[in-house]
Symmetry: C2
């Protein structure tokens, strides 16, 4: 396949940006876009036509687009709770779904994704851009090289002050406000857990076996609305269900633990709070540093040099070719990984088992919190296949590979 026909469903800020990103690639055409709002559809058609010169069909109904669009894949960047039903319809139409990040509302919808992907043979990919972050990929490489020894404990999170974004409500026709009003749990697990799950070989010789969540009271959004937004703001009397900080502990079959933090409604600088710890070393994102057992003394070493030294080949080439796309280049890389799988008709590097395992954390954490931080069993979405499945080290885009001595020396960045 020389050229991939990608549709985009959900044309808010994220979807519009991704439509433009993929349409700018030589081997991608975006012949169809879809949203429930006509103005978004019109704007995207006009922009794509203007920049790329070909006609783009607009749809208000995704089912119609999936039937009539002659598409190879769709990017689904709609509201969190509608990702799954659209992805199921895409797979049933033989179209690769790439869904934006978000958690699941029930285990049942996770199982449906697994069953339909297995039955149709169509891969399902969560477009978890952080898996393709430069630092995350360098650490993955260091893990694969054994530099941390046997992994024992990992941490990660989504620590992002979204008070302004959330309280804006439906002004930007987003959906965060509703989720933070009605739900209470680890609403956004995948930025943190995606890269960590790859390092821990989850679903390939390891799996998540149980989970416990605990959440704080909800104070941040109320204080923000009443103290910063004025006495007449629409959120001044909203009773928010979502606790400000949700902490989740996950146990793995091979004895490791993973700690997740969701922290989006208090003042703080951004962090994904990653930590990877094994018998020979530790990396802490918040310190931007590593420590290894063979260090002389208790010192932390700056992570920057290690990233350059153990650069993942995907990033090595990306820097030479010119980093481009949103979120520091991660958006571009994850879309390329999705597109390469479509072009070659192969499995996506983040497959349906990976995707639903990460998404399930949301509904499991809601369950655990609802039951007073009870431990909840983590389903084995592979039905036992994880015991014999293994990381496949070959393949440029795969997040399984070991790249030893790939990089003779660090490269210098070039503008994209």
């Amino acid at each position: 396949m020389d050229s991939v026909r990608l549709g985009v469903i959900g044309l808010g800020g994220r979807g519009s940006g991704l439509a433009e990103l993929v349409a700018s690639m030589d081997d991608v055409v975006v012949p169809a876009v879809c949203d429930v709002y006509q103005d978004r559809v019109d704007d995207n058609i006009a922009r794509l036509k203007d920049r790329h010169g070909y006609p783009v069909m607009g749809y208000l109904n995704y089912k119609e687009m999936l039937q009539r669009g002659s598409l190879d894949g769709v990017i689904i960047s709609t509201s969190w709770t509608t990702h799954v039903r659209i992805a199921l319809a895409a797979m049933r139409a033989g179209i690769y779904p790439g869904v934006e990040v978000g958690g699941a509302s029930s285990l049942q919808e996770c199982w449906e994704l697994v069953r339909v992907s297995e039955e149709t043979g169509v891969p399902f990919m969560m477009l978890e851009n952080c898996c393709y972050g430069r630092e995350e990929m360098a650490v993955l490489n260091m893990v694969k090289l054994g530099m941390f020894g046997e992994l024992v404990h990992c941490q990660c999170g989504y620590e992002h002050d979204l008070r302004s974004e959330i309280t804006r409500g439906m002004e930007n026709r987003h959906y965060r406000l509703e989720n933070f009003t009605y739900r209470n749990g680890e609403l956004y697990p995948t930025h943190g857990v995606g890269p960590i799950a790859k390092m821990l070989n989850i679903n390939k010789g390891n799996r998540f076996i149980s989970l416990v969540s605990m959440t704080t009271k909800s104070r941040g959004l109320h204080c923000y609305a009443t103290e910063k937004l004025g006495p007449d703001h629409s959120q001044r009397n909203t009773v928010f269900g979502q606790g400000d900080v949700t902490t989740t502990m996950i146990k793995c079959a091979r004895g490791e633990t993973v700690l997740l933090t969701h922290d989006c409604s208090l003042p703080r600088p951004y962090s994904r709070a990653q930590r990877v710890q094994g018998t020979k070393g530790i990396w802490m994102e918040d310190k931007n540093a590593v420590h290894f057992d063979d260090f002389d003394g208790e010192r932390w070493a700056d992570m920057g040099e290690y990233v350059k030294k153990y650069e993942h080949p995907v990033w090595y080439d990306f820097i030479i070719d010119g980093v481009r796309g949103g979120h520091g280049g991660m958006d571009y890389l994850v879309q390329r990984a999705f597109i390469e799988a479509i072009k070659t008709g192969t499995q996506t590097p983040i497959d349906v088992y990976d995707s639903v395992t990460w998404m399930a954390i949301t509904t499991l954490s809601e369950d655990s919190i609802a039951c007073g931080s009870a431990p909840v069993p983590f389903p084995d979405f592979t039905n036992g296949k994880w015991i014999s499945r293994r990381p496949v080290p070959d393949g440029y885009w795969t997040l399984d590979g070991i790249y030893k001595g790939r990089n003779p020396e660090p490269v210098s960045e070039k503008k994209g």
Copy 2:
């Protein structure tokens, strides 16, 4: 009381050091020391006599010392699991017990400490030195001043690579090896949770209501013993019960959560991993930085300047008088707080309710882990008194006070 007669029970490295520290104070006499090992008793008697010129009685049996020593207080620095029985005997003899840090083995022994302290009227104090850490006290002051707004979430831990110490076994007649071999839980909660509990007003308008713990596999000590200590080392075949990283979540009555990490058997630099987070700001020890809501942008500010600006008066004076004693001065301050309470016949600033609440985390975390990370209820050791008890803002040594504008300008350090 002009002079305090302090006995010391348990004369390992810690006890010997503390005996010397308190004996060097003008208003303290150490007339009696006790240990089960005769050589330790002899060494301490000789050293104290040599340096301070007065006779010191030695005992192999603590009960005998408590009966015959005419003591006002005792420092109990024996093995973790013997603290409680000795403290109970001290209170029954009308002697203030100050116990070194460590966790409880059962809830029952915590209740016994409460009952005996209440019945005898003798205060019980855990000598948690980290409560008197310079940074901790400055943060406490900032919390009391409302700089973090309403507190929502805190983190803390004991992250200390003790592999060499633990695997040394009984060479130094310590007890860590046995605990790490047979137990599995949050073995050392108080360095982290002590200062945090004071900030959260635990047992004074707030309390811990439930706890969940999860632990990793145990790999660090085995790898260390087999890879670093040689093929014939006594620990090469030891099966360690203690997981390398134990994570504990505690829920408070007022809706806050506290996250604890116990991480002592993997390579890493030392940290107590403290984080204090509220509706207006956040402090992270691992970043040595704070962020406040009124900052322009997402920046972290260096903590050093804030410590100086919001110096607790105890530290303000300590710096002027000259910082002395172990662990950066914390040891000296916590002993002074204990001694001042004895001299004035008043309640200790860390009382029996504080102490057992912190100690209970160990046995509760062992229970939770043993039951697959089940949530366990946290006893109300005050039997309802926490509802009406409140921090008492006056008193120099108390950890309750609000000291606004106490410090006209930062002082410069003087050698002690």
